[in-house]
């Protein structure tokens, strides 16, 4: 079947191209309905990735956060009309130790191959999960984003020692908010301290015990463990501030993405015996757990609903630019595209 793929060909310019999708038993044809813009998409759209990366990856369809409606499944496992979440990570091997999202052979939508800005998306059967009935589609659109936070917290629970009285979260954006919500749910007894630089954003963390402006952190303040959710040029400063305020043998979970190398106070990492680990992306198990969390904890959906900044109806290619530009200039939150192209 011929399928329209809306690819970014150079920063800020989209073009349509067609590919031929085989209607085979291995794939399910999904019509995207709600797509969520991620900062990673913005880095391609704005051209802030290094030139050699852009040259290698473009043209490519953006967006790796999204849900859609099944239009065709030759095996009948999914009924037409069934709402599903699409998993962007696509593994090609199984490893007993290494998770699918860390296998070097895995490919990722809107990074290694076309994302979801397509007329229909041919999804491998194991890359689709049914959405529960009644799931709010605008919130479900960014399940991938939530699943990355869920994955990071799962790893934290595996790696971190059991003294979890206080957990610091550096960052006041979407990622920090989502990580904090999931920590609140999964480790309800821990005190959550949020460290940011935007007072209005810090105010949104009403469920956390304390919030601190990063320039006014008391010297004596200590956290047992910490999450870095800052990324970009602010990441090194955040990680070094964590190193200053974390208790010995604590874990630092790094989630922010930065293009530059980060100079770190490794002497103090050694002296305190810290455990530094990173988390990136997520796999099918994380998606399943996140969908279960949505089902069992409606309060999580209510909190995440507050993250939605803008919902834009996308019918024309010019609407792509409207959506990405609006997302670029937002103060915070997520931009959702209602996919009617």
């Amino acid at each position: 079947m011929l399928n329209a793929v809306y690819r970014l060909v150079e920063p800020r310019r989209f073009e349509v191209e067609f590919n031929d999708v085989e209607l085979d038993d291995e794939h399910i044809i999904v019509r995207p309905t709600h797509l969520s813009i991620c900062n990673a998409d913005q880095r391609y759209y704005q051209g802030t990735r290094p030139a050699e990366v852009l040259a290698k990856k473009l043209p490519m369809a953006l967006i790796h956060e999204g849900i859609g409606r099944v239009v065709y499944d030759s095996c009948g496992e999914f009924k037409p009309g069934q709402m599903v979440v699409m998993i962007p990570n696509t593994p090609f091997e199984h490893d007993d130790i290494v998770a699918e999202n860390y296998l070097r052979s895995s490919r990722f939508r809107a990074s290694g191959f076309d994302g979801f800005m397509q007329d229909n998306v041919a999804m491998r059967r194991d890359r689709v999960i049914a959405l529960p009935e009644g799931a709010k589609p605008e919130v479900a659109a960014f399940i991938e984003f939530t699943s990355v936070s869920y994955h990071a917290v799962t790893r934290f629970m595996r790696f971190a020692h059991s003294r979890r009285r206080t957990i610091g979260i550096w960052g006041d954006g979407n990622l920090a908010f989502t990580v904090a919500i999931i920590l609140r749910l999964r480790i309800p007894d821990a005190k959550l301290y949020i460290f940011g630089k935007h007072v209005d954003k810090l105010d949104n963390f009403s469920f956390a015990e304390e919030t601190f402006h990063i320039n006014q952190v008391p010297d004596e303040l200590v956290v047992d463990h910490a999450f870095e959710c800052v990324g970009s040029s602010g990441a090194p400063r955040a990680i070094n501030q964590i190193i200053d305020h974390i208790a010995p043998e604590g874990t630092i979970s790094i989630l922010g993405v930065t293009e530059e190398l980060a100079p770190l106070n490794t002497r103090m990492i050694l002296e305190k015996g810290l455990h530094v680990f990173d988390s990136s992306r997520s796999g099918r198990e994380d998606f399943e757990a996140t969908v279960r969390m949505y089902e069992e904890h409606p309060e999580v959906i209510r909190y995440l609903d507050c993250l939605i900044d803008n919902v834009i109806d996308v019918r024309e290619m010019s609407d792509f630019v409207t959506a990405f530009d609006s997302d670029m200039h937002k103060a915070g939150g997520k931009t959702i595209m209602l996919w009617n192209k």
Binding site: L2, L23, D25, Y72
Partner: protein
């Protein structure tokens, strides 16, 4: 109920010396008609996809479709008529023979040689036909259109902002379309080759659905080259 109706009645005269009708020419290594029918076959809203073709091409059409479409249970290939409108009437007769023709039955009719139709266009056609009774897929005219009554001098240059190029699908409430068509005289039937035009002349509302610049009709050998260029997007 909603039916997809793919019109593959063309004999391909405009394709130069092509031996087969133009819908059997290949782009991307696959016959054009297969691309088009695949697009409709994945639309779960459609009860069936009816492909209408000259009698002698029925078996060949069925064979090539079956090679590429795993589930042919919703695809039928039947004989078209002598004209485009007679072909449409054959599709309505087929629906009637299945016992599914009522006032709300909708047909989404599409040229077999427009393989680049998208999900949005089809889905807006369904909505348009349900809401207005009929709709026509169009795209704003880019060239200035000149009207000449005698082929020698210009009679009129209409305001381009009000002009659109007709594409397909064209979608109708099937029963209503047949009633109006059967009310035409033989002379009218001979002149009115476009079903949407029949409805407009009879005072019926025909809703506009916005098409796409790439929803091209593959008519001339040059179009095959354009189509191959559009179809360059394999990963």
């Amino acid at each position: 109920m909603i039916y997809g109706v793919v019109l593959a009645g063309g004999v391909g005269r405009r394709m130069g010396n092509a031996e087969k009708p133009k819908q059997f020419m290949t782009i991307g290594g696959k016959p054009i008609i297969v691309h088009t029918v695949e697009r409709f076959a994945v639309c779960s809203e459609l009860e069936k996809v009816i492909v209408l073709t000259p009698e002698k091409w029925i078996d060949h059409t069925r064979n090539i479709l079956a090679k590429h479409i795993p589930d042919m249970s919703r695809v039928v290939v039947i004989e078209g008529g002598d004209t485009r409108n007679e072909t449409l009437m054959n599709s309505i007769r087929y629906i009637e023979s299945e016992g599914n023709l009522d006032d709300d039955t909708i047909i989404i009719t599409h040229d077999a040689v427009r393989p680049f139709v998208t999900y949005r266009i089809i889905s807006e056609n369904i909505k348009g036909a349900q809401e207005y009774g009929a709709c026509d897929t169009v795209f704003p005219a880019t060239d200035t259109i000149v009207r000449s009554d005698d082929g020698v001098v210009v009679s009129e240059i209409p305001d381009r902002s009000k002009l659109y190029q007709g594409q397909t699908p064209q979608s109708f409430k099937a029963k209503k379309l047949r009633e109006i068509y059967e009310g035409l005289s033989e002379d009218e039937k001979a002149i009115l080759t476009d079903a949407a035009k029949i409805l407009v002349l009879k005072g019926e509302k025909v809703h506009l659905v916005m098409g796409e610049s790439f929803n091209i009709k593959i008519t001339y050998p040059y179009d095959i080259k354009v189509a191959e260029t559009i179809l360059k997007g394999d990963e």
